[in-house]
Amino acid sequence: MWTIAAAGLLVLAAGVAPVAAHHGWSSYDSTREITLTGTIKEAGYEHPHGHVRLEVPGKVWSVVLAPPTRMEHRGLPASKLRVGAKATVVGYPHRSTEDEMRAERITIDGATVELR
């Protein structure tokens, strides 16, 4: 019985598929700071991290922000993270996902909010 159970577990574990990594700052290349200015095409004021799709000339970036609770606390409520707004983000590109970056800070309507 136990060998069968163990074999079953191994099969389950072997079925694990790799998936794009996320979240931890270590997934982003902090040696390559980039600044993007563009228009918010899509905004998610969501847990565990807020995000925007930011359209810059020739590209749309997926920008990972901070947890909503932190953004709210630092003066960036959901109402400011609106579609159509101009935003500038400073952050680091993802090591493997080409159009993803994690923002250290974001500037909307002249107000800069630190996200880390």
Binding site: V16, V19, V64
Partner: protein
Amino acid sequence: MTQAGPLGWLGWLETTTAATAMRQSLWLYPIVEILHIIGFVVLVGSAAMFDLRLLGRSRQLPVTGMERHLLTWARASLLLIVPTGGLMFVAHATEFAGNPAFRLKLVLLVAAALNAAAFHLRPFRRVAEWDQGARAPLAARCAAGISLALWAGVIACGRLLAYF
């Protein structure tokens, strides 16, 4: 953030009221996380203390008494852990389902449950023979060691979810 992926039931889960509330309500997500942590602290803490007793610590304490006290709380803690875990899962079901750390965590959870069941079905049946002041049989000590390793693995995978 949801990844593009096959829809179906995982995608549907993310559209439920509970999932939307988890992502968008300001404090729900952290509150659920905190309750999940409180729950598994009780579960894994109880299991670890019981395991250490089986491994030979504090032999003056009766195993049956510790089992009744600790494992009752361990089972009760599931009432906190499972619903909160489910809420966190539905918020990002597609992403979690494809996350290797999450998959391994589920495998380890199943293994821990099987291990606990095996302990209760086999060595624990004859606990009267080694209840107090005696060395637990090898099967019981093995189950205890395996339990400690599996729960450490479950916690590690749970934390590492955010990094994959």
